[in-house]
Amino acid sequence: MGPTAPTWGAFLLYAAATFAAFGYLWSKDARASRAMLVLLALGVLLHLAGFGLLLSLFWSYPENRWYLPITSFHGALSFIGLALAVAFLAVESSHRLGVLGAFVLPLVALATGAAVTWTEPTLAPLDERLRSYWLNIHPVLLMTAYAVMANGFGVGLALLLQERQIKSRKPSELCYRLPSLDELDRLLGNIVAFALPVLVLGLAVGMVWSHHAWGRVWSWEPKQTLGALTALVYGAYLWLRVARGQRGAKAVYLSMAGFACVLLTLFGAELFSGRHGYLGGAR
């Protein structure tokens, strides 16, 4: 049994929860929705256990002590999967919109699945340049923001589907199962309004770290630039929403452009490499 075994288990539970979510969307059988929540909650618990196991292995190197193992691609993906699932549970507990599971849980399963199938945890001493308490703050803030934004992506997808249903004048069963346009629109707005400040804070903390480590606040490095672009796009979405009353499909497209920036920031850095490459992140 490898160190990722519990995370593997979490992945399988997430995948099962995803199927249950689609089952609920398909049948509107409340049992499927309950099964989804139970599977997801179990997945989160197992995932936490997996993270704990990884942490203990990572900290067996004394120089790694107290730093989070999120510098590897595995650590980052796994953390995002976990944060996504927790963010979904938080949204679900306040809004009780079980159908949204079908739009968000695939992302949970995808992130966690990617972590366990094509990356491996780095169990080696941490790069000296990364040994800083900022490591526990800067990426954690950003990944939390990404996870919440991913929930927003799911909500946006549901909104687009519902808008198409209503514009078509021939609504199918799906129309009655999805939450109303207004509800989805409000939820998307709230999600972005919550995640954007977290994202901005994460970027600001990154600048402080950069200043400490390299004496420069900004260096036009790809990941940094993309991160700023992400904040700009989501900022534009919020501004248009609040000041101009921009809602509906067009606003959703803008929020999705923001999420595309998130994905590019997250995975693009691997392509462009540089200071933010997942150092030592074994494939």
């Binding site: 059988d29 409340a30 514009k167 109303s180 346009l181 207004d182 101009r244 809602r247 509906g248």
Partner: protein, 349 residues
Amino acid sequence: MRLLAFSWSHRSGDAAAREALASVPVERVLAELKSRGVSEAAAVSTCNRFELYAAGTPAAPPDAEAVLAALTELSGFPVSAGAARREGAEAVSHLFSVAAGLDSIVVGETEILGQVKSGYEAAKAAGLTGKRLNVLFQRALYVGKKVRSETAVAAGSYSVPSVAVQMAESIFGDLRGRSALVLGAGAMAELAAKHLVGRGVARLSVANRTWERAYQLAARFSGEAVRWEDFPAQLETADVVIASTGAPTAVVTREMVERASRARGGRSLFFIDIAMPRDVEESVHQLDNAYLYRLEDLEAIVAKNMEGRAGAMAAARAIVAEKAAEFEAWAESLSTGRERSLKHSEAGR
């Protein structure tokens, strides 16, 4: 367990007996039954239905004659002739059907569930429910909810106004606190307005070329009458617009809606055009956050729902039959002394 049920409903046809029974407060019915030695009984009384359930044991079965005599005396009407009498399993599945809204005039309506609940609570308060009736009514409420959440019986709307309301709810969610604008004051407009107000629409404005008629319709819904020239300004605040004027050309133009939408801050605007010829320009539907449904769109949805109705009814009846059988098995197990668990069968399937 011995269960006995008497029903007077729209199905039995005898409206006089129903009306006589409906005029008697349920508390008085229960008190009278108690004084005549009935140990377990509950009544469900609505404007088009009166149901009485009495339970006992094989040793002491409920006395049908005493029940009917009590009801006849209280209502001052010979009610026994128009009563549908059911016993045992038949009575159980009847109550479950009633709770599920399958026996209602508007199939799937949700009000009946609350009425069954208050009937049960009255019986409980009167001390007329023992273990059997308690479990029976709790199961009925559970089945009522289950049928509504798992089948499309309640979701399906089978008339133009109710489909219009359903679409409004797909756009706005809860309609409470929303505002509606009615253009024209015909019978169709009134019917649609009635449905919207019934779902909690808070502000209703009526605009009509003849001020008098606008005023009359507005008064019926404690709404506000608007001068015909002023209705375009109302487009800035309304959420739902019902158009049914007799105008020969469209009265709501794309420019009008575009102008209003600048002040709307992106809020959705739902047009229901039931006028012939059309009242709202077709191109309004292409505007962002504006949705236009015409009479034929709503009729097409009604037709589609009707097709699916048979399947939904079959699914609902299957749930009722399954849960009634479960309850019967439980009631049976009481007399053998080894009580079966109802919870178990609920989770296991």
